[in-house]
């Protein structure tokens, strides 16, 4: 434990801004991926272990499209939609067969896809770590704030994260489709009895969830190294976000992601040895004190 350097950092504007930015970057990427996972769990009731692999594929696709088209916005859109389409395919072909079975099989089927997709990534993109680097549009001097420098790309990611959070919330709460999705999460039989096509809703929700993971991967591609297996650490962090925020809750996921981002960024200064363990302890405490998480369960 190193509380004195934590306090030193908190009173030093440079360090404070640095750590806050890195907390927010971490939080936004985590939120994008975890919100998809949370949405899928809320509606389909399946904990998708392969969600981290969708994030990985999103990063790879974006990298490939960026190299191919040299347009970053186009690469993001293609990567993100590519994963969305793959998600719908995945749900229709594999996942739909195991909704009614024991959770053991659900966990194991999605786990099997971690192995499969990691190897697919090795086959297609090779074993090497890929670093993409900031896209051309962001190759400009970083912003200077109180003596610390913030790369413009970071600001872009944070803004995108907040916009997506707001859009997702508005989609779920202010549109007809959102209402349908929330109703399905509550009682899919009832929605089906009312003549709505729940099959379509399931596929759509998984597609949206996959797209969010893909977007997370797309935005992470320029700042993190891309390699087969990059998803397996991320998916555990996402589980924590979903559990802490409340399974199925988007605002919960947002809050939990921010909390975990800050715990990471400042924990590394204050508790350098156990900084990673902190968030697991947070999860354990939340599960025991309030098992439904910050914002209840199955409430979108």
């Amino acid at each position: 434990m190193d509380l004195s350097s934590l306090i030193e950092c908190l009173v030093d504007p440079g360090c404070l801004i640095n750590q806050t930015t890195s907390a927010l970057i971490f939080a936004m990427l985590l939120f994008l991926i975890a919100s998809g996972l949370s949405l899928i769990f809320g509606v389909l009731g399946v904990m998708n272990f392969a969600h981290g692999s969708l994030y990985m594929l999103g990063a790879y696709l974006t990298y490939t499209f960026y190299v191919g088209t040299s347009s970053f916005p186009l690469a993001i859109i293609l990567g993100c939609f590519g994963i969305g389409v793959f998600g719908v395919f995945f749900e229709r072909v594999f996942l739909k067969r195991i909704y009614a079975v024991h959770i053991l099989y659900q966990l194991l089927l999605t786990y099997a896809f971690i192995l499969i997709l990691d190897d697919v990534a090795k086959l297609v993109w090779g074993y090497e770590f890929i670093t993409m680097g900031a896209p051309d549009a962001f190759q400009r001097p970083p912003l200077e704030l109180a003596g610390s420098f913030i790369p413009t790309y970071y600001i872009f990611v944070i803004i995108v994260g907040i916009i997506v959070a707001v859009l997702l919330w508005m989609f779920l709460w202010k549109t007809r489709y959102g209402k349908l999705i929330r109703a399905t999460a509550h009682s899919s039989e009832m929605v089906m009895a009312l003549g709505k096509n729940t099959t379509l809703i399931y596929a759509g929700v998984f597609g949206i969830g996959a797209m969010l993971a893909g977007l997370g991967g797309a935005l992470a591609a320029p700042i993190r190294s891309i390699f087969p297996g990059m998803g397996s650490d991320v998916v555990v962090d996402c589980f924590i976000v979903v559990v802490v925020g409340g399974m199925g809750s988007i605002p919960g996921a947002f809050l939990a992601a921010i909390l975990i981002g800050f715990m990471r960024a400042f924990g590394i200064i204050g508790f350098p040895l156990v900084e990673e363990a902190l968030i697991f302890i947070l999860m354990a405490v939340v599960l025991i004190v309030r098992p439904q998480g910050f914002f209840g369960r199955a409430e979108l």
């Binding site: 079975v101 099997a112 697991f280």
Partner: protein, 321 residues
């Protein structure tokens, strides 16, 4: 009870004799690994198959056992007995602490919480560098006493430890205690209303699974003369689940057969390709989508259906989550 011990002894003796009749280094090594992983998977099946608790963090105990035995033999003592005794105590303690948190929650939350504790153990292993070697793992070799230093001697040692552990597990699941575990699996609420202290039973079986998981970890670290953080990474917890599901969770020997299938699959696929994940993953997907039944369970049901007189199994896995 006598039959269990008898069959166990015959099985163990047969394995040992086989290692003399057919002394292939490759096979002895493979069978050592299969037995170790078989014990690991069987210990997990006490939770999954017998009590209905899907733990996704069993590698925590494998890691605790592997590091405890490894560190003690490397740094503190040359007694294998002491190392295994300490392993039992430490894995039991770890399981007691982790279990008393996890059993408060059901189904998916239980799985998530065991996974979280699994990662806490992993982080402890990574960060406690001067004890565990951190990222590098416990390298530099683990000294073994002379009577265990050849592969065959270690194989015989493994056979004895694993068969003895399996006999104990079998006796436990056949006992009245085991019967209550099955009641809890089928309907925990009803068990509770019958006056069964569900949580106590769950905690006891969790500790038991932890002890045997720890023992298998200790056997593993001694067999490869090192312990690595991978042993307790969360993804390692999926391996025994694979064995349980593929071998069959409703038969006592299912997980052991599952371990054999897993190890043979890996051994063969790594001969031709290093993309073994594709093969293991593919097999898993096919089994889950097509049969959803382990090999031993499948065979047992065939046998049961042949003989009309034999009563059908009353306890089948619950198909609804």
């Amino acid at each position: 009870m006598k039959r269990t011990i008898l069959w166990g002894t015959i099985f163990g003796a047969a394995l040992i004799i086989l290692s003399f009749v057919y002394p292939s280094k490759f096979l002895i090594n493979l069978f050592t690994q299969i037995l170790i992983m078989g014990l690991f998977a069987t210990s997990l099946n006490l939770l999954i198959g017998y009590t209905g608790m899907v733990s996704f963090g069993h590698a925590a105990f494998f890691g605790v056992g592997a590091y405890t035995a490894g560190v003690i033999l490397q740094k503190y003592s040359s007694s294998v007995l002491f190392a295994f005794g300490t392993t039992i105590v430490f894995s039991a303690l770890a399981a007691l602490i982790i279990g008393s948190f996890c059993i408060r929650l059901g189904s998916i939350y239980f799985a998530m919480l065991t996974l979280a504790f699994n990662q806490i153990i992993y982080i402890i292993v990574i960060r406690w560098t001067n004890m565990t070697g951190g990222d590098q793992g416990l390298i530099g070799g683990i000294p073994l006493p002379p009577f265990l230093s050849t592969p065959r001697a270690y194989f015989i040692f493994t056979v004895i430890v694993v068969v003895a552990s399996l006999i104990i597990c079998k006796l436990v699941v056949d006992s009245p205690f085991g019967a209550i575990l099955k009641v809890i699996r089928e309907n925990a609420d009803r068990a509770y209303s019958l006056g069964i202290r569900v949580k106590s039973y769950q905690l006891i079986v969790f500790v038991m699974a932890g002890i045997f998981g720890g023992l298998s970890g200790a056997l593993m670290s001694l067999s490869i003369s090192g312990a690595y953080p991978d042993f307790c990474y969360w993804a390692k917890s999926a391996e025994p689940i694979f064995m349980v599901v593929v071998g069959g969770m409703n038969s006592f020997l299912g997980p052991l057969i599952g371990a054999a299938i897993f190890k043979v699959l890996i051994a063969f696929s790594t001969m031709y390709t290093n993309l073994w994940g594709l093969i293991i993953g593919g097999v898993l997907v096919l089994i889950i989508l097509l049969v959803r039944k382990g090999l031993v369970d499948y065979v047992m049901e065939l046998v049961a259906n042949r003989s009309v007189d034999s009563p059908k199994r009353l306890l089948s896995p619950k198909e609804t989550g």
